[in-house]
């Protein structure tokens, strides 16, 4: 989330698309209903009339997988009706930046962008780049900077490209592709685009309904673009807000339990970074990322201590380097091919949650060993005795380690709003169950022991690994927290030689790293968490580790609650909050003022911690050739971007284009009526065991005419281990069900409460039919299309049991993130 849960109370319009917070994030509705009491409007766009839709001011139906058309049409509506926030986009976005004149878009190239290589299924992005011009720095050297236009409508500006691109996205097209009646779309457009006014704010809430698509990244991009256009980023009541699913999925992502990253989004090195120098060179030098290499050194100091020294480039070689994509789908493909021998699952249940889960369960049988750390015997732990499986044929050894739950151990988690809160141990656990930290600590010590004294160079990363988390039997989470927070290994000094952090002291903020001369005297496991465990005032003069604070003060009454826990980065609650003020530094509107420039004190002041250089004046000029933020101006509100701008057009970083363009889901009952490019042209299609009963198979609409979208329920949680085992939750949602409309049910002879079969090219499941008027067929390009909706929480373990819905889904992921397309695929439903 760019903003926070509590910040919903500041919104004038709440726009929910691809989420169902009334069901899945109920706490949000206390804030949503609060602000609605004061006149705010709630919009819900969803394929089904959900519990969130039930009380909405406007509900608009949409076909799964067509969000870009809907959101693109909102961009078009805002531009055509001049509802965009002109002063905001000129100052804070790249709207005025000029793009290469060689750039061509889907309007010219029938759905493709310039630079497409059909053979490689990838783009050469040269023509997407900014135009640059040469300017002289103080020393007279030529420095290349992005070229800016003066007026929005000049040729080749980002704005004019955007305008042309989305001119194709009309209300009529929305009706034709999304199936949303035009008048419903226009109702949404009128209400939401009104937040382009300087004194209004609108927030977008989304979840997996946006990400689980082959165009998932572009779905998220286009929401951000719309919000930039309306001036809704960086302000109270605005933002692009991902409603994340697990209690600490934000934290597990921050800590890079993903192949392509290192803690704090530093990016994992690849084989294109043979040494530290080339790795350090990947960071921007004209943004805050100039500090990236320092953060990497701090991480390596945390991991390798004295073994990480300038002479060996801080043990950079110890870090594994990737060659290609190791994400979920390739991981299970490699497991299916027998390449992976051992698997650890910590609180994860892939046997239920993975795409084409029947195939993935089959892959588990290729493992020599499997270690599961969990609260319950999950479907993953018991895959060898899944229904229809003969344990005799499965040679995998399984170690099932009993873990203590969140109430029974100590540590911190971070909310979707980036607020870190500390949990004490409040209850006793069962039998010999242990904390995950204890298990990891024991394992690490055992592994270090067997590699002890190994003469092999390749074993140095294990031998040199720092691993000391307390005396006695139990590792201490607070010692881990100190290492994550960062501390001084020696006196840390600034350029003048003054000590800014004494040896042994905890890092108060990552700014200390940036201003340190000897930054390698700091060990810090995650720079974004710098300060989270350092002592801080709770607003009442009581100092305690920041994440443990329970201070209730709320300066400005905006719901920031800066003394409660600790919000990364640097206790900033609303990201990019420089944009909450006008270019001249004064607030856009009095009742939503967040930070502002105090000319007398020559600094930014206000209620939130500025996401900006606190002493940089609004009229500050960029230093030509300056390093880091010196290269940015007093209105460059997006300090993590090389040009300091919010990107309405992404010149780099995206696989399928600088602007989101509609492509059909990989499995769709219709062809793309916007262009000749039917599906995302750069998506990888796997083809393992296509001819076998279990394999990578795609279905055609002749055989599978019904769109299926999977979803989550408020009564259950994820793969079900923590909810299908609880009698109170099993009682209120006991069985797997499929929701289908009355027309489809009648056509198939399926009655309410009877069982139905759902079949895809991958598999077949059985579920209770809920026949409902809340699911209605849509007319897509003149053709009636039916949808079904299935909650995916079930499996064979626990109290409430049912088939694994992911037996239906396929190994096809987003072109950038490889997140599977769970939200739009083809099935048929039959009576049983």
């Amino acid at each position: 989330m760019t903003n926070d849960w509590v910040d919903l109370k500041n919104a004038d319009v709440i726009f929910i698309i691809g989420a169902n917070p009334a069901s899945n994030h109920p706490a949000s509705f206390s804030w949503i209903n609060d602000t609605r009491e004061h006149g705010a409007k709630l919009i819900v766009v969803d394929p089904a009339y959900t519990r969130s839709a039930a009380t909405a001011d406007v509900y608009a139906p949409i076909r799964p997988g067509t969000d870009i058309v809907f959101l693109g049409a909102l961009i078009n509506y805002a531009i055509q009706n001049k509802l965009y926030h002109e002063e905001y986009i000129k100052a804070y976005t790249n709207a005025l930046t000029l793009i290469s004149p060689d750039f061509k878009g889907p309007a010219d190239l029938d759905g493709l962008f310039s630079g497409f290589d059909a053979e490689k299924k990838s783009y050469d992005t040269t023509t997407w780049k900014y135009q640059s011009e040469k300017v002289k720095d103080a020393a007279g050297n030529d420095i290349s900077v992005p070229k800016q236009a003066v007026a929005l409508d000049e040729p080749n500006t980002v704005f004019s490209i955007l305008k042309k691109h989305y001119a194709r996205y009309t209300p009529a097209l929305v009706e034709r592709i999304c199936g949303t009646p035009q008048e419903k779309f226009l109702q949404v457009a009128k209400i939401f685009c009104a937040t382009g006014a300087a004194d209004k704010s609108g927030t977008i809430l989304y979840a997996m309904g946006q990400t689980q698509h082959t165009v998932g990244t572009q779905n998220v991009r286009i929401m951000a673009m719309l919000q930039l256009l309306l001036g809704n980023i960086g302000i109270p009541g605005g933002g692009v807000n991902a409603l994340r699913g697990e209690s600490n999925v934000q934290g597990s992502t921050d800590f890079a339990l993903l192949y392509q990253d290192l803690p704090g989004y530093l990016g994992a090195p690849t084989d294109r970074h043979p040494d530290f120098k080339t790795f350090a060179a990947k960071f921007d030098t004209t943004s805050y990322w100039i500090n990236g290499p320092r953060f990497v050194v701090n991480l390596l100091k945390a991991w390798y201590g004295d073994a990480a020294k300038p002479e060996n480039n801080y043990a950079y070689d110890y870090l594994p380097k990737t060659s290609g994509n190791y994400s979920w789908i390739p991981l299970f493909q490699a497991m299916g091919a027998g390449k992976i021998k051992g698997l650890f699952c910590m609180g994860m249940n892939p046997a239920v949650s993975g795409p084409n889960s029947r195939m993935e369960r089959q892959s588990l049988a290729n493992l020599d060993w499997l270690v599961v750390m969990d609260l319950f015997e999950t479907e993953t732990a018991s895959f060898w005795r899944a229904p229809g499986t003969d344990p005799k044929n499965i040679q995998t050894e399984v170690f099932l380690l009993p873990a203590l739950d969140a109430m029974e151990k100590v540590g911190s988690i971070v909310t979707s709003g980036r607020r870190i809160q500390w949990r004490p141990r409040v209850s006793a656990g069962p039998g010999e169950a242990q904390t995950d930290i204890w298990i990891l600590d024991r394992l690490a010590q055992a592994i270090k022991k067997i590699y002890h004294g190994s003469p092999e160079t390749r074993d140095l990363p294990i031998r040199d690994l720092t691993w000391f988390y307390g005396e006695g039997t139990d590792p201490d989470p607070e010692i881990v927290a100190r290492e994550i927070n960062g501390y001084a290994l020696d006196d840390v000094k600034d350029a003048s030689g003054a000590v800014i952090l004494a040896k042994g002291a905890l890092l108060p903020a990552f700014a200390t790293i940036a201003s340190a001369a000897n930054y390698d005297a700091i060990a810090c496991g995650n720079w974004l968490y710098a300060g989270y465990f350092a002592p801080a005032d709770d607003g009442r003069g009581i100092w305690r580790p920041a994440a443990r604070r329970r201070g209730q003060k709320d300066p400005g009454n905006l719901g920031l609650f800066p003394y409660w826990g600790f919000t990364w980065p640097a206790n900033r609650h609303i990201l990019y909050n420089r944009a909450s003020a006008r270019p001249d530094g004064s607030p856009w509107v009095e009742n939503k003022k967040l930070i502002w420039w105090d000319a007398a004190q020559k600094k930014w002041t206000g209620y939130d911690v500025p996401d900006f250089v606190a002493t940089k004046a609004p009229d500050a000029k960029a230093v030509i050739g300056g390093a880091g933020l010196a290269a940015q101006t007093g209105t460059d509100a997006f300090l993590m971007k090389a040009d300091g701008k919010g990107w309405l057009f992404a010149p780099t970083g995206l696989s399928e284009g600088p602007l989101p363009e509609h492509y059909e889901p990989i499995e769709s009952p219709v062809t793309n009526c916007l262009s000749g490019c039917n599906t995302n042209p750069v998506v990888k299609i796997w083809a393992t065991n296509q001819d076998k009963p279990i394999g990578d198979k795609l279905g055609l609409c002749e055989q599978f005419p019904v769109i299926c979208t999977t979803f989550r329920l408020g009564e259950h949680w994820q793969a079900g281990a923590m909810s299908r085992t609880l009698p109170w939750l099993a009682e209120i949602q006991p069985e797997l069900f499929v929701m289908l409309g009355k027309d489809l049910a009648a056509a198939r002879g399926i009655t309410n409460g009877a069982r139905a079969k759902i079949i895809s090219a991958r598999g077949e499941i059985s579920a209770v039919a809920i026949v409902t008027a809340r699911m209605k067929p849509l007319v897509i390009d003149g053709k009636q299309v039916h949808m079904v909706r299935i909650p995916w929480h079930w499996g064979w373990a626990g109290l409430a049991t049912g088939d694994c819905v992911n037996d239906l889904t396929h190994h096809v992921g987003d072109a950038n993130t490889m997140i599977p397309e769970y939200k739009a695929f083809l099935v048929d439903v039959r009576k049983t």
Binding site: L331, M348, N526
Partner: protein
């Protein structure tokens, strides 16, 4: 009847409707006294389900088992309210289905065997070494140059978005030290 002060009651009751109640509670008993049938709770923590991060107030019995769950009225995120899952956290902690012993399933076996932690940790460490050493790649050629990659593709890690930051940190640290690159979790799904 637990010994909770009136003040504590007030704090715990100041949920969503608290403002309606607070001015009147001072003489709330109305002539009849109904003692609380259990303690309300005093241990504040955070819900383990979705990412709202709602505050909970927990009471435990003499065995340390959860006997009551309330929303934490001081937590600014939820102000005392909860959802069905967060309330059910009591059954999560007390479930008879929870694992209390290490279990091991041998190749081809159709049952679990209970094992000690000592045996288990040692056996897993041995298997980690074997899988790592057999699949370890120290260098590869990129454009005819040796690049140190220090990785193993023989071991994979999945999880965990339900774990604490400190758990995740140790996992990421240990796995990368081993050279694990097949490192993924819920955020990918």
């Amino acid at each position: 009847m637990p010994h909770l002060s009136r003040r504590q009651f007030l704090q715990l009751s100041a949920g969503v409707s608290g403002s309606l109640l607070l001015p009147h509670v001072a003489d709330a008993a109305g002539g009849e006294d109904f003692p609380l049938h259990k303690r309300v709770g005093e241990l504040a923590t955070i819900c383990p389900y979705c990412s709202c991060g709602c505050g909970l107030v927990i009471a435990t019995d003499e065995h340390g088992h959860i006997s009551n769950v309330e929303g934490d009225p001081e937590n600014p995120i939820n102000r005392g309210i909860l959802c069905p899952k967060s309330i059910a956290v009591r059954q999560l902690a007390n479930s008879p289905l929870r694992l209390g012993k290490v279990k091991y399933r041998a190749p081809g076996s159709n049952q679990w065997e209970e094992k000690s932690w000592e045996w288990t940790i040692e056996e897993i460490a041995k298997r980690v070494r074997k899988a790592r050493d057999e699949s370890f790649v120290r260098t590869i050629k990129v454009n005819d140059k040796d690049v140190t990659v220090n990785r193993t593709e023989g071991i994979a890690w999945l999880g965990g978005a339900a774990n604490n930051n400190e758990d995740c940190y140790l996992a990421t640290k240990l796995m990368r030290a081993l050279g694990v690159v097949y490192l993924e979790h819920q955020a990918r799904l």
